[in-house]
Symmetry: C2
Subunit: 231 residues, 2 copies
DNA sequence: CCGAAACTGTCACCGTCGTTACAATCGGCT
DNA sequence: AGCCGATTGTAACGACGGTGACAGTTTCGG
């Protein structure tokens, strides 16, 4: 890895939600033990049950993550951006990969093999806590998503999901969500028509502004009220 | 803890899905560092954001686990039986508890405080792998549940959920699921009426047998076909 | 600069699920 | 044995989302 790549990767990891609270030392070890990988649009960063175990941390780019549902279908579970961790160490989780991630933008990753994780672990045991930590974070969002889909009607669900995206991203223009309505529908089990109907509704109420392939949140508080079924 | 309790707890942990593949030594440490707790019907084994961090392993009994959804609602997420792990070590997961668990039968737990986990970790680092492991297991089932609810229509969803219960339990009479139709509906976001309709349908097709507060699976393969949308 | 591809806005029809309500049945408790 | 609460079977009606289809708009690449 080039020296400038190294510092770039370091910054990306250092600011990721995952490693907040862990020492610089751990981050440095991750950078030096990891391998930088670039993938183009359409390539799989990982596949269920594939033979490349380990973790990958997204440095730049964007991916869609799919989960296998009964009947050989795949459902879009979420968007994966810089700072997210995907994949898992088979050895420490005991099973095939959960999800499939496909690049929708050219992306770069820091790939950490199981062996690399072992080497890091022998020097900096923090890594195990960190791994348990992101497993929890993933579990948290998965449970929340399940709870949303189960308990909320489509209208509330859409509002809640928009807010989840909003909270998930920490960039400057977090108010603008770049997702097509088609994709939104696929992610929460609704048709584009239904999505469109409710979004138009929200726009008329001044909560959001619709664009081509994007949605701008203009009244986060108002959306919260809807998600909370107050309105 | 009494000596006979100790061996009882040891057996429960030793046979739990969680600790399969880990050495007896780790199990022994867990038993000796843990505290045995008994709770009656209606008592909370844990609460979101409560002040008793750590893990609890269910030794005997049955609990319902709830997850907070937007709008101060709680949705029934699943049933928790012997061998399951609930709670989490705040320190290593970085956030409030995810779920609330309420006893529906008198239950016993092995409670492991954060300090106990630390002590175990210093001697047997396996514990961290084990913790990441059950976080993964929980994540897996949560993601799967979300995928089911998103992609399956009610009929398929009910079949898939029945199968999930069936797979989850490893006891002898796993074919008999002891849940009321009311509860089933609550767990997957459907009304009792809808549940009843589809279940009656399944019964007529010879896939299940309905009882009072229980459901017996008589044709697992047939249910799989429905869940997979083949039928 | 233009054409193809992707995305959004909208329609009518139909099926399914939620709502509300009531009766019948089962199980445990006294 | 007998009662009461919990659970199940069922009905009519209305609302809402899915289906399939089409036109208009924006984006991007050649």
């Amino acid at each position: 890895m080039q020296a400038d790549d190294q510092s770039l990767v370091f910054e990306a990891l250092r600011h990721s939600a995952w490693l907040q609270g862990y020492p610089d030392d751990l981050v440095h070890r991750l950078v030096s033990e990891g391998r930088l990988v670039r993938l183009n649009v359409g390539e799989w960063a990982q596949a269920e049950g594939d033979d490349r175990p380990g973790l990958s941390v997204v440095i730049s780019g964007l991916l869609h993550s799919y989960c296998a549902a009964p009947g050989d279908r795949e459902v879009l579970i979420g968007l994966v951006g810089p700072g997210s961790v995907i994949g898992h160490a088979t050895r420490y989780s005991g099973g095939p990969r959960l999800v499939t991630a496909v690049c929708v933008e050219p992306s770069t990753f820091l790939e950490l093999s199981e062996e690399a994780l072992d080497r890091i672990g022998s020097q900096a045991p923090h890594i195990w806590q960190a791994m348990a930590g992101f497993a929890y974070a993933h579990m948290r969002s998965a449970v929340r998503m399940a709870a949303e889909v189960i308990s909320l009607r489509p209208r509330e669900r859409i509002a809640a999901r928009l807010l989840a995206f909003h909270d998930h991203v920490q960039s400057a223009d977090r108010h603008v969500i770049k997702v097509s309505q088609e994709l939104l529908g696929e992610m929460m089990g609704l048709t584009r028509k239904t999505i469109n109907q409710h979004l138009s509704n929200f726009e008329a109420a001044g909560l959001i502004r619709l664009g081509y392939g994007k949605i701008e949140l203009t009244d986060v508080g108002g959306l919260k009220l809807i998600a909370d079924r107050v309105v």
